[in-house]
Symmetry: C2
Subunit: 377 residues, 2 copies
Amino acid sequence: MTFEITHKDVLTKARAGTLQTDHGTIQTPIFMPVGTAGTVKAVHQRELKEDIKAQIILGNTYHLYLRPGLDVLEKAGGLHKFNGWDKPLLTDSGGYQVYSLAGTGRKITEEGVKFKSHIDGSSHFFTPENIMDIQRKIGADIIMAFDECTPYPCDFSYARQSMELTHRWLKRCCERFDNTLPHYGYQQTLFPIVQGSTYKDLRKQSAETIASMGREGNAIGGLSVGEPAEDMYEMTELVCDILPVDKPRYLMGVGTPENILESIALGIDMFDCVLPTRNARHGILYTTEGVVNIRNEKWKADLSPIDESLGGYVSSFYSKAYLRHLLKAEEILGAQIASIHNLTFYLWLVGQAREQILAGSFNSWKNAILKKITQRL
Amino acid sequence: MTFEITHKDVLTKARAGTLQTDHGTIQTPIFMPVGTAGTVKAVHQRELKEDIKAQIILGNTYHLYLRPGLDVLEKAGGLHKFNGWDKPLLTDSGGYQVYSLAGTGRKITEEGVKFKSHIDGSSHFFTPENIMDIQRKIGADIIMAFDECTPYPCDFSYARQSMELTHRWLKRCCERFDNTLPHYGYQQTLFPIVQGSTYKDLRKQSAETIASMGREGNAIGGLSVGEPAEDMYEMTELVCDILPVDKPRYLMGVGTPENILESIALGIDMFDCVLPTRNARHGILYTTEGVVNIRNEKWKADLSPIDESLGGYVSSFYSKAYLRHLLKAEEILGAQIASIHNLTFYLWLVGQAREQILAGSFNSWKNAILKKITQRL
């Protein structure tokens, strides 16, 4: 994997770059749609490419490991072959889901995490080593280190101990990763994750540790978990200033359109979040004119396109009134249309950000567009 | 609306024809996907056209009347404009749903049917007259008469009284229809419905009554409601032999691929059924090789395409194992893929039937293909 920064903004720390993987090129900054269980919910693979113009998507190790399982994925030749997504793919480490979904009976030790499947209650054990092996077998282009993602709020003592565990696990991840080969022939790369909750000295220490590992890209975890946006930005800025400038920086699980633009300004290159798809299913639409709760009565007879200036089939073809009707009637097509629309918006947003960085006008554009797109319509 | 029969089979009563409406041409025999609430569940409008190659779809008057409501549909300029489906459209009369969904507090009188909405419990009254007005406003190209659809089994006395009521209502439907104008400029046409349960003399009497109305097309209702297939075929044949030969014949709510081919052989031109979409959501797939319960363990690691010889994006691109995974994980994309696949199969099947009628080989083809496609795989 190679990463080249082609443009740097002058007024902010935003940058535009090109990330090259064996499954294709990613133009950064980029948003990565979340494909939890091997599918971006309610979206066909060709829609991801042709309508949304996604360049890289996520898979969740926890979900894929439990279902369909590694035997099926290996037989297919990896997740790319299994679901037909032939562009770059990133998998998380499963850590977050182990904490948030498989809550009951979960036990964290130095060795790893014992947990029960949320599907059938069966017992499983994740370790830094087997998580590397599992992600190799899933076949992601970018693999994430196994970490503990601390909740918010989190007391200093726990945050420090958790961070230190994450660092020890990281060494084990790197060792295992470096001693194993790509599982399907194409290159795979490992991103470590900065933790440290909202404590500046922990974040600084963690960023320095992660930077010292010299991996091909780095991630920031444990943010957007409930802390105030100011804290998120403060931690992100602090960490970005320590992480190597010439490597891609991935801010995990972030966020709103505002979070994304502000974090691009701080030097972040990659984002993922379930917000556009989850909110879509609940009728919250991001548009070039502002945020729309399409289930509101006011849209009942609004026959204008969902967002004509965004372009694309779904946003131009279907009306607000029709989408409202579908979501009110709990029709599957409602989730489909809203999901494609919101993801198209997110990819449009980062694409615009990139163009503005290239044109040297990122900061003024950011401030102007945020006023518009964060309005409640 | 014009209908022209271009080919007649020699060994069976199958025919191939062309039905011309202001929204385009329909090649018969044809299957019409059901778009209950203004959407064929889980399918985009462009997929209906480009993948499934649907020529006409259905809307349900009961559902559309309750939600989004006539005010919204009229403001849009009719259902075609509201949902973006610009090809021919047929609406049922709402009768079936009034009986099956709005069960509690329903009251049938000579005047019409009083019922409560299954959505909010509000009271409504359908009459032959207002059902004509409602369908005019929904804007269907083909409008169905308001009838009572008898359940199975149904005693002779009730079946006769119900049929007679349906006939009296039909006269009121025709009168109202003939004294009103197309609501949006394009032509609309009314199909009456033969009833009479599984009683030959009632079916004969009803078919004669319906034939005597001289409408542009005729329908057969009250079948595929639980009676043995032999009874369905017997009634269908009896009725087809009475209905005018030069008008399209629509067998409502039918059915399985076998029901469809056998009924084409009896002289039916049009079909609709929720089976392909409802079964799709439950993992029952119709393929050119046989019927597949894709949720079965045996497909877990079957990476072959769903049905490569059927052609089309969805059936060729996605594997059986991937679709199984999606349906097991209750992912929306599973319903999407399976629905497109099954509808593509149904449209393929009637398209093949038409080609075989044109080629003079319908009967032998029917017997051979039924052996194959009705196998349980």
